[in-house]
Amino acid sequence: MTILIRNGRLVDPRNERDERVDILIKGDSIEKIDKNLSGAGADRVIDAEGLVVAPGLIDVHTHLREPGFEWKETIRTGTMAAARGGFTSVVCMANTDPVNDNKAVTEYIMEKTRTEGVVRVFPCGAVTKGLKGEDLSEMGEMHASGAIAISDDGKSVANAQLFLKAMEYARLFNLAIICHCEEETLSHGFVHEGHASLLSGLDAVPSLAEEIIARRDIALAEYVSSPVHITHISTAGTVRIIREEKTRGVSVTADTCPHYFTLTEEATLTYDTRAKVNPPLRSAADVAAIKEGLKDGTIDIIATDHAPHDAISKDVEFNLASSGISGLETALALSLGLVEEGLLDLKGLLRKMTDNPARLLHLPLGHVALGAPADLIVFSDRAEWTVDKAAFLSKGKNTPFDGREVRGKNLMTIVAGRIVYTDPEFR
């Protein structure tokens, strides 16, 4: 199958490209990139006039819930949601049931992806068996089965000695180390400590809970000369820490999520469980610092932390509600808000969703080049639409953005030369 995408604005951060050009896809890879390519002989010609063509987005932080929580999400529905959102690759976290801490689970995920997946899935294995923080998981075997990163996401590895050894051992397989930073003894709450906890009476999570472990994990990684990635950062202090460590030359990268630069703790004041997320939504000052970190490059990546839940997990008291936001289908539009604000240019934004994630994970993806895998999206950076949770392809309808008017919409997703998603209104 050959596909010709004509007249689009190709924005490819890796190759510093932002120009009007045609792209010919043959089979699973990119055959030609040039002006005025002929559509003769192409099986499909896509007119991208006025639209952006970009490498498929890569999400370094997704929860697909399978195996074990298939009523919340499956690899099928999660990857359909990814495709709709413009993601051609997702990293799925290990907190499934059973936990992805051995090759049998990794192989199960890979096999399910082969048979039912819509986009590429790269499993992130657990650092410790059962996410219990006691014994190292078999990361070598998981790596051989397809895992490309390790994380005990959902919590930190409390035992510093153990995490140090995990970082050293992970180097054997060049696995990315993804740190969820949360000091559990400081984290018995549900909302940001300060304004939100004061007014709501809900137990608080101070910024310190994140910052103290971010400092520790970076120090551990530096000690054993391993690169380290800090995920879903939410506080001004963490931005400052990462900026300082980067300046010092430490090999650290970081991501944040659209909700941490779009919403503040105000969203939790009505006890709206859709806004319950871990780490919690922070203050306006934190949001400003996160934006500054995105602008100056301190924050390398925008991830979704897509955390789908069933309705009952959220239709309860705030304390009892599950944490998380179903984020794959709103991430691009919310992130394009940063471009609209003038904080980033389109290339700078896409770099954080394509090239930088690919580099973190050592993937040969995230760019548009001759012979490269044809993972592409076609989107409008101007189309206005209203988020409607009922239209989500994810089983998780848990979004605080339901009803929000946003700008920028993915219209087509191509994975390995196959069109896996087309917006119903796109021809």
């Binding site: 400590e193 300060g194 304004h195 906890s197 004061l198 007014l199 709501s200 009476g201 809900l202 137990d203 608080a204 101070p206 009505t270 006890y271 009952i312 239709d315 309860v316 008291e317 705030f318 304390n319 009892l320």
Partner: protein
């Protein structure tokens, strides 16, 4: 003034005028409780459910008496929140109760926002009778009622609130309500019992009890929850009481006509000495009496009454 709120979830959402309107309405109901025949037909045919997920004697009885004196039918449900975790959710419980068409549900819950959850899904009126460390609006209203009764006006009052401010819904509701008037509030507790960001509410903060009570018109003591002793908040209840138990020497530093308040139940000898609790300046039992009038007013206004 017309009452426009379907629910009473907190005092933070109320205006100064609405609070005064509630107090005035309560004033008009107070005499009923002092009559020989303590019943009026005002809410005849109305059904009021009290749904308590936390133990309570005073507040539940106060609501029930208030409802009965207005001739409403009352149903009391006491349960523990552990049963919610295991079985029926609060939402389902609420929807089931709603099917039996109550007019008002009074809910107490150990988790902040539980009344708000019911409010979002039910058509009947919801009254928050205390939700975790968040709010206890009728307590604040009866406290303001008592202050106004004793001091004639709320404006100009200097008030000390002393105890575990961080975990106290009574403190939060009182601060929210009193800041709508021209009052000066001093909060006093060991630093571990002060909520982060408290300054945001426009109160003065001190950890010294003698400083807190100096020159005050009102001293409001909070109940120290004994289960917090020996935790990260205080080393022991004994040490707490050696530092923060209100004695007659402290009271002597306040204004001569100071009133001493406590939401109850009191821990005598821990946060308040016997002599203070039973002293002439203590209005603790007036608070309890006024609680009935306030709850009559709230039930009346939420049930569609007009003053």
């Amino acid at each position: 003034m017309n009452w426009i709120h379907k629910d009473l979830l907190g005092v933070r959402e109320l205006s100064r005028e609405e609070i005064l309107f509630l107090l005035d309405t309560a004033d008009s109901f107070r005499d009923i409780s002092r009559r020989d025949i303590k019943k009026v037909p005002t809410l005849r045919g109305k059904t009021i459910i009290t749904l308590f997920y936390e133990p309570s004697t005073r507040t539940r009885v106060s609501f029930e008496i208030a409802a009965k004196r207005l001739s409403a039918d009352t149903i009391n449900i006491s349960t523990s929140s552990s049963s919610v975790v295991k079985g029926e959710t609060l939402s389902d419980m609420g929807r089931n109760l709603q099917s039996m068409r109550p007019d008002v549900i009074v809910i107490r819950h150990n988790m902040p926002g539980a009344p708000h959850l019911l409010s979002k899904i039910l058509d009947c009126s919801i009254i928050n009778a205390g939700d975790g460390a968040h709010e206890h609006p009728t307590q604040a209203l009866l406290d303001l009622f008592t202050m106004r009764e004793k001091k004639e006006t709320l404006d100009g009052l200097k008030i000390a609130i002393i105890g575990d401010i961080a975990h106290s819904r009574v403190a939060r509701s009182n601060i929210f309500a009193l800041k709508k008037f021209d009052t000066e509030i001093t909060c006093c507790a060991p630093p571990t019992m002060l909520p982060p960001g408290l300054w945001e509410l426009g109160v003065t903060v001190t950890d010294r009890l003698d400083e807190a009570v100096a020159d005050k018109d009102v001293i409001m003591m909070l109940r120290i929850q004994k289960e917090r002793g020996g935790t990260s908040y205080i080393p022991s209840v004994r040490e707490y009481s050696s530092l923060y138990c209100l004695s007659e020497e402290h009271v002597a530093k306040a204004r001569k006509d100071v009133i001493i308040m406590h939401p109850g139940p009191m821990n005598r000898g821990i946060e308040i000495s016997d002599r203070v609790a039973d002293g002439a300046y203590s209005v603790i039992l007036d608070q309890v009496e006024n609680g009935v009038a306030i709850r009559m007013a709230v039930l009346y206004l939420l049930s569609g009454g007009e003053s």
